[in-house]
């Protein structure tokens, strides 16, 4: 992790008497991808709104690139890109027109959207009205829009939700490229595999609190159970056995299994991020 691009210090926000975010603190380094995971109503959207300057925290402080977001909204927003979960595009405008409009809002005169459209695979459809785009095409345009100003911090809210595997893979590749370029990526997703694959670190948020935050590997090591599942055929019957990896006789048990003539398959088993979330919060992510 490099220098901090995002620094959140004891931030809180309530909607009336409902506490949405309850004093969370974390940092995201430049070029780092942070997966921000939590069920609906956990406080993800409120956190994103505060980080992007759309809501002012009622307590604590949010800094992006060392600038207090509450007091430097314009400067901060000039350097971020946001991809919202809802496809809030202008349907009666073309893909090109959508990108040019947002470039103008960033003060970019003479912006040429063709490169951005090519990057998300929409070169051929750039002149079509967005209302004629498929869901996947709209999502790709959303990502292109978030990248219009070559942001230093990229906020992505469920960027691959409901997309076909090809579109999802294309978007993940873009996220990786942006991270390599040096942009910090703040990613919220329900897709645990996606978070696992993409994120350098993962934060679990539940009821406005961050309950765990670390690399996916460390979380699995700390909170998961490591084991090996062995499948064997003995006297015509198929049986399964789970061998824990952290007991004294693990080596002997595995040796016996591998040497057995009835061995069919052997798989390592580790907890998923969802398992860990359930273990930590007692509830699922969806």
């Amino acid at each position: 992790m490099g220098d901090s691009a995002i620094k959140v210090d004891n931030v809180r926000y309530s909607y009336g008497k409902t506490l949405a975010v309850d004093g969370i603190s974390f940092q995201v380094g430049r070029g780092e991808i942070l997966g921000f995971l939590g069920p609906n109503g956990a406080g993800k959207s409120t956190t994103i709104k505060m980080l992007t300057g759309m809501l002012t925290p009622q307590g604590g402080k949010v800094e992006l690139f060392g600038l207090d977001v509450s007091h430097n909204r314009k400067e901060v927003q000039a350097r971020i890109g946001v991809c919202f979960e809802e496809k809030n595009l202008y349907l009666n405008m073309s893909g090109m027109e959508n990108l040019i409009f947002f470039a103008r809002l960033f003060g970019m005169k003479g912006y040429d959207p063709r490169e951005a459209l090519k990057r998300v695979g929409l070169s051929e459809r750039g002149n079509d009205r967005v209302k004629r785009y498929s869901k996947g095409m709209r999502q790709r345009l959303m990502v292109a829009r978030a990248l219009v100003n070559t942001p230093d911090v990229l906020f992505l809210d469920e960027p691959t939700n409901g997309l076909d595997p090809v579109s999802s893979r294309a978007i993940r590749a873009i996220i990786q490229k942006e991270s390599e370029r040096g942009a910090a990526v703040f990613l919220t997703t329900h897709d645990m595999n996606e978070a696992d694959q993409l994120s350098d670190r993962v934060a679990f948020i539940n009821e406005g609190l961050i309950v765990a935050m670390d690399t996916p590997e460390n979380l699995k090591l700390q909170h998961g159970t490591r084991s090996v599942r062995v499948r064997m055929r003995e006297n015509g019957d198929v049986s399964e056995r789970v061998v824990p990896l952290d007991t004294a006789d693990t080596g002997e048990l595995l040796k016996a299994a591998v040497g057995s003539p009835g061995l069919m398959t052997i798989h390592t088993e580790e907890a998923t991020l969802e398992d860990i979330f359930v273990k930590l919060t007692g509830r699922g992510l969806t």
Binding site: R30, G31, T52, G53, M54, R73, K74, Q77, A78, R79, I80, V82, F84, E86, N88, L89, Y90, L91, N92, M93, E97, F101, F102, R104, L105, F106, G107, M108, K109, R145, N149, T150, P151, D152, R181, G182, A183
Partner: protein, 369 residues
């Protein structure tokens, strides 16, 4: 090493201009409202040019009774302005002419009327009228018959009349009545303003409902930029379209600048209404209904001006009364700045009230998304 952004310097003017251009593009692609605008402008202009340009103040009266003809011809040619007399040989043909609506009123003088009147004998005159003839004209006909009878009998009316029997306060419009088509001008203007208010309301509503406004607010653009851009676009479109239709229906009269100022203030008012309706509406239909909730009461003064006489007192308190009164006064009566100043000031005050309310409601709506 972090790559620097390629972002230029975002300015408020740049953001406002960008939003304005975008809204203009979206507005120009709204086929429903383009169709409605063309339809309404064409209808209003056609109606204006089709309706009669003059008011026919002549009452056509049929008369039967041959022995009264010389006396009545002399009476009508000297005393009664705007009276056209058509003679009938018998009562049946007189009645038929009224029933077929060729005539408005008919008077049947019985045979021997002249002799009876001069001899002081009581006689009966029958007056036929069309069912929809105003009561005051029927009364005037009765009075005229009595007056004719007095004149034939050689009596003077037992009253002393002043030199001018009617004192007109203000411009005497006898013989120069305002045609109905001219009375409709403020209504046409207001209808175009209403239409544009609903179009802008729909544009705002879709911006709010589709959350594109949230995307704008994630950039350096501020909510104030959005309000200014929407306000400027709404006012510009409503004003320019209304100005054009007023030109096409010859509504500028001798004081065009006063009319334009009133229309400009009206455009601000309906733009504010559009902001309120667009913020609260869920989709096109509810936005239209909400818009109508405001616009129908605001249209009442435009309807009231269609009828002769001063509008009811409560109508004069409606915020849009100033628009109608100033447009009508400057167009038809040729009133100047001094006479219009009070109404324009009141109208400007209402614009401030509506403008603040519209901006507040839209701002609140966007903030709670």
């Amino acid at each position: 090493m972090m790559q620097t952004t390629s972002t230029g310097r975002a300015t408020r003017l740049g953001a406002i201009t960008a939003i304005l251009r975008k809204d203009l593009v979206l507005h120009s692609r709204d086929l429903i409202f383009i169709f409605l605008t063309i339809l309404s402008v064409t209808t209003f202009v056609t109606l204006y040019w089709v309706l009669p340009r003059d008011v026919d103040e002549t009452i056509s009266m049929g008369v039967s009774g041959n022995d009264i003809r010389p006396a009545l011809t002399q009476f009508a040619s000297t005393d009664e302005e705007g009276l056209s007399i058509e003679w009938f040989d018998d009562t049946d043909s007189l009645r038929a002419a009224i029933e077929t609506r060729d005539l408005e009123v008919g008077v049947e003088f019985p045979d021997g009327f002249m002799t009876d009147v001069m001899a002081g004998r009581k006689t009966t005159v029958t007056i036929f009228v069309r069912p929809n003839l105003p009561e005051e004209i029927t009364g005037a006909m009765q009075s005229m018959v009595r007056e004719i009878a007095y004149a034939i009998a050689g009596y003077q009316l037992p009253v002393t009349e002043p030199d001018g029997d009617i004192v007109v306060l203000g411009e005497d419009r006898a013989g120069d009545q305002i045609p109905f088509r001219d009375r409709l001008r403020p209504l046409y203007a207001f209808m175009v303003l209403m239409l544009e208010a609903i179009a802008l309301g729909a544009l705002i509503s879709s911006e709010v409902q589709e959350r594109t406004v949230t995307a704008i607010l994630s950039t350096p653009a501020r909510i104030g930029d959005i309000l200014l851009a929407k306000g400027a676009l709404g006012t510009f479109i409503a004003f320019s379209e209304t100005a054009i239709i007023l030109l096409l229906i010859q509504a500028y009269g001798p004081k065009p600048l006063i009319v334009l100022v009133a229309v400009f203030l009206g455009a601000i008012m309906v733009t504010a209404v559009a902001m309120i309706a667009g913020s609260a509406g869920r989709e096109l239909i509810s936005t239209m209904l909400l818009g109508m909730l405001f616009l129908i009461p605001l249209a009442i003064p435009a309807f009231s001006i269609m009828f002769p006489g001063a509008p009811a007192r409560w109508v004069q308190f409606l915020p849009s009364y100033g628009i109608v009164q100033v447009v009508y006064g400057a167009t038809v009566e040729g009133v100047g700045w001094r006479e219009s100043a009070q109404q324009l000031l009141i109208l400007a005050g209402w614009c401030v009230v509506f403008g603040i309310a519209g901006a507040f409601v839209l701002k609140r709506r966007v903030e709670t998304l």
